[in-house]
Symmetry: C2
Subunit: 379 residues, 2 copies
Amino acid sequence: MTKAFSFSISGRQGAARTGVLSTPRGEIRTPAFMPVGTAGTVKALYMDQVRAAGADIILGNTYHLMLRPTAERVARLGGLHAFSGWDGPILTDSGGFQVWSLAQLRKMDPDGVTFQSHIDGSQHRLTPARSIEIQADLLGADISMQLDECTDFPCSHEEALRSLELSLEWGARSKAAFGQRESQALFGIIQGSNYPDLRERSAKGVSEQGFDGIALGGLAVGEGHAQMCETIDFTVPHLPPEKPRYVMGVGKPIDLVEAVARGIDMFDCVLPTRSGRHGQAWTWDGPVNVKNAKFNEEIRPLDAESDCPASRDYSLAYLNHLFRAGEYLGPMLLSWHNTAFFQVLMARMRAAIADGTFDDLRAELSVRWADTRSAPRQA
Amino acid sequence: MTKAFSFSISGRQGAARTGVLSTPRGEIRTPAFMPVGTAGTVKALYMDQVRAAGADIILGNTYHLMLRPTAERVARLGGLHAFSGWDGPILTDSGGFQVWSLAQLRKMDPDGVTFQSHIDGSQHRLTPARSIEIQADLLGADISMQLDECTDFPCSHEEALRSLELSLEWGARSKAAFGQRESQALFGIIQGSNYPDLRERSAKGVSEQGFDGIALGGLAVGEGHAQMCETIDFTVPHLPPEKPRYVMGVGKPIDLVEAVARGIDMFDCVLPTRSGRHGQAWTWDGPVNVKNAKFNEEIRPLDAESDCPASRDYSLAYLNHLFRAGEYLGPMLLSWHNTAFFQVLMARMRAAIADGTFDDLRAELSVRWADTRSAPRQA
């Protein structure tokens, strides 16, 4: 932990834990779900809605911001906090995942990756040092991530091994580039696909490098719910218990519950806003497609008991109409509802771990959300 | 005026006047600009933003709502106020203008108009009585408009005469269908294109019919700023001074100033939200295209002195980025800014009329916005 950061665990039930990650820009209650602000905005939300929903920290994307408006421009405008209007903690990813998932014509070499922008085809390069420069120096992230390489799923053992060794090397270079910082933190990333021996090797290697927190990468890439849980199961025992643990890109509500049960502290995912833009609301009863004709005269809101106006004050009939008419307010309201719902879920899990009722909550939600577990992607 | 409505003029300067139109759902300070909530939502805004921006009344569109979700469905859901979440006064148009501008294969007859939906080609019919049923009975509008026929611009004298006579007849039928109502009002509509004799004939005819307010239709249809002003000039002298006067579909800020100077009390226009969706902000210095590259590192907001967060709290550089990145928040912020700007303009005009400085304000804005006067549309 750098000087101004501390992680304290205040409650445990089984492997699950709750606590606070303190940062110079505020406290992050864990387990925490970080809304994704890809390009300096959490899509279709105002930042005060994100804050009021209960989010302590948001995520920004190095890949998107380095292409547009460019990291240098964000820096000249005062950094990502000033640019976006979010004054709480920000975690940025390294760009590695989006280079793998979005960029065109990427070419890896031992020192980094050269790729073409998916926006305009322009050529760019990321190295461990450049990623840190963008995240920590130019964007001003409170928590930066090491540059890593993602592998396809499924992935051969040989390829997964080669890749995790490269990510370990890049972790060391990222850490060297980051140096000692008073008020910023750096997390390492474990890879190793779904191979227990490789996850162990990666977990031990990353743990030894002395990062401020440790992320599990290479999940939510099509492996499905069961495999994701299994991978967390055989990776967590190799992690230092005192460091915050972050599963990147996860996930659905059922994934969050099962990962928290396995000792994970932090999450991010585009799901709340992406689902929201497409008419899908996440609720205690599972996902609801508000475009469904059965809602067109349904006077009930999504959740009459919610503190979130989007969940409480608009009828399903109105939401149905807004989506059918292609109105902005539909995606605005559902992105807001989903963002709030994910935060309330995290708050319920934190409270349940603290008061020893997490097993009951997990059992209840496992039944409620049984049908929402992702199957492995078909090859 | 029906029983629960009253219009009182509290100040005048030249032909300009300021006052209050009292309705059972609240007071409308005049001159008033009504944000357009076409399909039960003011596009990309929350209703509390519309209210906080200073709007006392919004407009709903009979044409859009009768097609989707249908007026009967809105009625079953409690009416347009409950459906949309706007509890202040609502004025609805009659549908006539959109049948003319949007619908396909429209066929006029002396009793009404049959047309095909621009959404799905389905066939529909509007008559004076059906329009009143939709507006007053099903949507529950506080102020309904008579069904009228719009003419193309330019339009021959013969055609404009035929059309205004039809609109007068439909006005009588609308009024008969509306009957006597305690808590709802009905406005008539003047047509007559840009012919002084026809506008006079229409104005006198509509005035004699005893509506609660009188609208000038057939403007903002391509005639340009000068012709619009001229038409208002030769129409207003034939209107009863004690009734509210409403110019439909107008307009740009300079149009509002010049129409207020000529004695108009009410306006509606999609411009604030439509411009907002396309990156155009209206300001005291005229329209600003925030997508312009010259703003990409401009740290200034649109208006540091504004009470509206959208105008005050976001840099032009950030707005520029949001539009270039295609983010929802760009249209959300600019629609909000423009909606607030139009309301502040109306508030300034009301205050200036009240304290006798309207001429000064008009002179200042005429210079500032000299370049924004629309030229007539080329044939």
